[in-house]
């Protein structure tokens, strides 16, 4: 099983650049031109949506998580990596705070 994981990761790296680029909303605008029965109305609708969406998307702040902190949470509390990262993120990178909140204190 382990080898297919590596396999994906290998290719994931290779693809990452273009992937990231394509994932964003900018590229999708072109997509909207795609045919549909009620073209015009939908284009207008989606234009509105875009406006709705922009604000929350920009807000994301970045917090750097230390790898060894994540590992400590995993080792001490036996939780998944995903959960450990999420808790650490909520605690703004403060290991002690994250451990505390995970133990319900």
């Amino acid at each position: 099983m382990a080898d297919h994981e590596d396999f994906i990761e290998e290719h994931a790296e290779e693809e990452q650049k273009s992937d990231k680029h394509n994932w964003g909303a900018a590229d999708l605008e072109k997509v909207t031109a795609m045919s549909s029965n009620e073209d015009e109305k939908e284009v207008e609708v989606l234009g509105n949506l875009e406006r709705l969406i922009e604000a929350p998307m920009e807000k994301k702040a970045t917090i750097k998580l230390k790898k060894e902190d994540v590992q400590t949470i995993i080792d001490e509390l036996l939780v998944s990596k995903l959960r450990a990262e999420k808790e650490l993120l909520n605690a703004e990178g403060d290991l002690k705070k994250a451990l505390r909140s995970l133990t319900g204190f």
């Binding site: 297919h4 992937d19 394509n22 997509v31 319900g104």
Partner: protein
Amino acid sequence: MSRPPTSSNQPLPAKELGTFRRIVKCYENKQFKIGLKLCKQVLDRKEFAEHGETLAMKGLILNCLGKEAEALETVKLGLKRDVGSYVCWHVYGLVLRQGKQYDEALKAYKMALARDKENQQILRDLCLLQIQVRDYEGYKDSRYRLLKLRPQIASWYGYATAFHLLKDYPMALSIIDEYMRCYPGFAKAESKQGKSDAFARSELILYQNMIMREAGQYSKALELLEENAALVIDRRVYHETRGSLLLSLGQNEAAANVYQMLLKRNPENLDYYKQLEVCMGLTDDDIDAKLKFYDDLAIKFPRSSIPRREPLYFADAKELRFRLLVWIVNMLRKGVPSLFKSLIPLYKDHAKVQVLESVLKEFIGEIDKRGYKRACFTRCKGKHESPSTALWLYYLLAQHYDRVGNQTLAMEYINRTLDHTPTLNDMYMVKAKIEKHRGNLLEAARLMEEAQLLDTADRYVNSKCAKYLLRAGLIKEAEMMCGKFTRDGTNASINLNEMQCMWYALEVARAERSVSHYGDALKSCHQIEQHFVNITDDQFDFHTYCLRKSTLCSYINLLRLEDRLRNNEWYYQAAKCAAKIYLRMLDRPGDIFDISECGEEMSAEEIKKMKRKQAKVKARAAEKEQQKTKGVAGQVEKQTKKEEGIEPVGINIDPEELLKTKTPLDEALKFIAPVIDLGCTHVTGYLLGFEIYYRKEKPLRMLQCLKAAQKIDQAHPLLHIANVKFLLYLRNFNRDGVVGELVKELTEELFGDERNPVDFNKRYQHEIAKDFGSKMAVLECNILLEPGSVPAAKKTILECIKDATTPGRSLKILIKMRDAIRYGRFGEWSRDEVAEFMRVCHLAYPYANAFGGGAKEKENIEASKGQSTENGDADH
């Protein structure tokens, strides 16, 4: 996948391309055999032998045919041959998803999408998986892309739910607004569209309302709800929502009107009464006002039982007496078997129990004085009760005395019912229950069988009977009993597992455990676990279905239910049972692997006696069963052969394999971790967690369990033991860094200054340990702190058992003590010492099978009735 493989690096010529398309068609139409043949056609040609997409399709089809391993290999091979193809990546993702490797599947889907950005099918599969693993952020992004590609109703709904689940209420609401704005016909009643649209509209309005309520926008929610009143099809939900909104907004009078109206629709909904109480501003202290409130409603709804029953639970003793008289007399005259059930809440309060008992005594006095043909509870001249009233009164008294722990009197009354009417199965069921409560499980099972024979068409009695058989350790017989109601032709256990029947699996697990068949017990626990896995997997169907059918409120509620699924009581019980067995594997490996030696510390004579009794009940059941099965035997054989092809999950778990695990702690943790994470309400759940983390040396997790347990019951005996264990553990704890620091901090928060385990134990002993359970906990801690205290502990244990006035001494707890002693938690006990323990317990509970009493001894005990009846009467 219906589009041609554009991203492939291995283009096929026209003819093969045609074949490939046919393969895809075959897969979609589930013509797997033909599909495989077509794959072979392409792959057999030398130049296409390594055609990636064909290999992928072959793998996908193999996967559908249940050949998972081969499928994965083939798909991987195909992917290696053609890494640039979205088909290969998509198929790889699908196969991984089937194998429940969700993280990997997500990656594969994303790779596929990178190669074909507008492929809606892949996007939809990605969405499904993201919501299934609750990756809300990712789900939101994918939903956005899907909406842009395909702005149809389900896409809009999906996008709105994404924001709702992220708790971004304003966005979720604007999306719904936007949708209603774009399709104005949808929001208006005069739209010409058909019935289904009307329903979708109604659901959307309610969904919008749900988001607003969660966002705290009550007044806007109310306004919109009333504005759209005519469009909401589900009238009950409309009124209930409106009532709760009015109440949230403090418009109590208007809310009261709504609930009054709802009560007219359904006067048996307790929730309406409770809400109405809130509307009227009635508090729990205001008993007179509450009584009047319910009395008024009782006049208004003469046929409803709630306004007559509820006052019983809060009225004070004096008021209660009069109301109980009316309530009980009415129910007795009608002959309502569930009368006792309605009285159960009274048993929380000792004063109320006294009132109830005096009322019952008055009735029985009247009957005893005048004979049941002439007695009249209401003292009306010239009137008398019908003969059946007396029967139901005896029945009620039996249940009452059983409840307060006086099984001797309970037996007396239940026997009077049987003298009165020997053909009513309710009576036998209660008699069985009384026997069960005094520990005579074999006799209880026998009585239940009698009850079952009186009405063989009643599945409730049948199930009860199976349960009692399991309690008596008669596992095979219980299976046969259940077989009377399961589908013909299959084994009852298999059928019940398919039906996800959890009570049965749990009782089997406990029964197997009590006879030291730990593998079989674990198997049952794993079966229950498997049901929960299946329930989680079943969600997949709803992600698409609910969006398509617009049932969004229910959908969101379903997702929330699934998030807390393992908070369910059955899961907890199964987890508890399994975790205990896994802990035993570590603590007492001899019990698990060498069955001949373990467990039975009963004398040979006792074993023989026990077996004889079991054999008797067995023989009776087998005899009955034989006549039945003869007829269907032939049929059964045919059926089982036919069904061999389909193998239900869970039934194939191998008990032996389960016992061979090298990591029992991890297995135990798999069961217990969700219980702890979801905040279960049982102290024991956390303490089992503590035991596991203690052995894994994870101090932070131990502290978490202790804290959570403390919140529920600070004085719990098991918590005390865990606390002492933890303080002992700290003696040798010296870790630096953040973790070490935090452990010290949290310990201080939890224990204050008292961190010496010896003092801690002493304080508990003096301040809290008054009842049997906590006294035993102190002894166990004494032994942990000073192994030399075993002889003293033994002495105290026996004294506590002998003393009938020890509060909290019960049959249940003595059986737990027996198991704890066998487990070695109270040091080493010699054979004679165990025999003495059993003898003392037997004297306290002469009917309990667990201590060698029971059916056979009945006559002896009856003979020496003078002394022994006093035993059960501690309360009187």
